[in-house]
């Protein structure tokens, strides 16, 4: 799937699995990413308007999930891949895979719920905790940099938001890699 790890990438993934290293990276990246969002621009907020048991919920992950019949995320561009993949709610487990070389997804491969908790949401519908799952969910790859952040911010993220609105989704759970 175009995910050939070099030794350097393997060492990097191993290091970043250590919370303190991820924390250091997070602090460092926050300084540059903070400049991308206009701080005078307040964080949007849509209050919850109905009980959980009546909500239709969607998942959006940046963990690099996609269906096996979809084009994998681009592992060659060092700026990442700002596109998304639509994952229908009924996608069988065997038809889902991960392309994302910027984190060690061995555990997520073993149990998708570690990053993309679709089975967990289905269980919550069965338990009548939430009303329903969305007809489709969405996956990005994360690890987006440079000018591709603008593509995400101005094109692909709003496109996904629009589809969630069309699907009359009440709430979205976002999960990172």
């Amino acid at each position: 799937m175009g995910e050939n790890h070099t030794l350097r990438e393997r060492i990097s993934n191993w290091l970043f699995a250590i919370p303190a290293v991820a924390e250091w990276w997070s602090q460092r990246t926050a300084k540059t990413t903070g400049q991308l969002v206009d701080v005078s621009d307040p964080t949007p907020f849509a209050p919850v308007t109905k009980p959980l048991a009546q909500m239709r919920m969607a998942l959006v992950t940046t963990g690099g999930f996609h269906r096996t019949d979809q084009t994998p995320f681009d592992m060659e561009n060092p700026l990442g891949d700002p596109t998304y993949r639509v994952i229908p709610d009924a996608t069988p487990r065997a038809e889902l895979t991960i392309t994302h070389k910027y984190y060690d997804h061995t555990d997520a491969d073993t149990d998708h719920n570690v990053v993309f908790p679709l089975e967990l949401l289905h269980e919550l519908v069965d338990k009548q905790v939430i009303g329903a799952t969305a007809p489709r969910h969405f996956a990005f790859m994360g690890h987006i940099d440079g000018e591709l952040i603008a593509t995400l911010n101005q094109e692909t993220a709003p496109a996904v938001a629009e589809m969630l609105k069309q699907d009359q989704i009440d709430a979205v759970l976002l999960t990172p890699a």
Binding site: D111, T175, P176
Partner: protein, 95 residues
């Protein structure tokens, strides 16, 4: 991920994000987030640890329901493997 949350919320849809990179989440400004100081690639915990994964979802749903303003970041301070996880009492969320 924070930019995606903002775009969705701007469409009038409530969001809650799980974060394992606190400063990044704070710098972007996310409507609602639950922070866990856990290894990257494991926002819900370990494979097949259902009670641990359910506990994370529980905190996320609770934050979704209870946050009254944007930039809410909840820190349940779950200590990765050093907790005894049991399935949450979902009825507390369904009142």
């Amino acid at each position: 991920m924070g930019l995606i949350a903002r775009a969705i919320e701007a469409q009038g849809i409530s969001t809650v994000a799980i974060s394992i990179t606190k400063e990044l989440t704070l710098s972007v400004g996310v409507p609602r987030a639950v922070f866990l100081r856990w290894p990257l690639g494991h926002p819900l915990g370990e494979p097949h640890q259902r009670a641990q994964q359910q506990t994370v979802i529980y905190h996320a749903l609770q934050t979704l329901l209870e946050a009254s303003e944007p930039d809410t970041l909840v820190e349940p301070a779950l200590r990765w493997r050093r907790e005894t996880y049991v399935e949450p009492d979902w009825s507390k969320l369904v009142q």
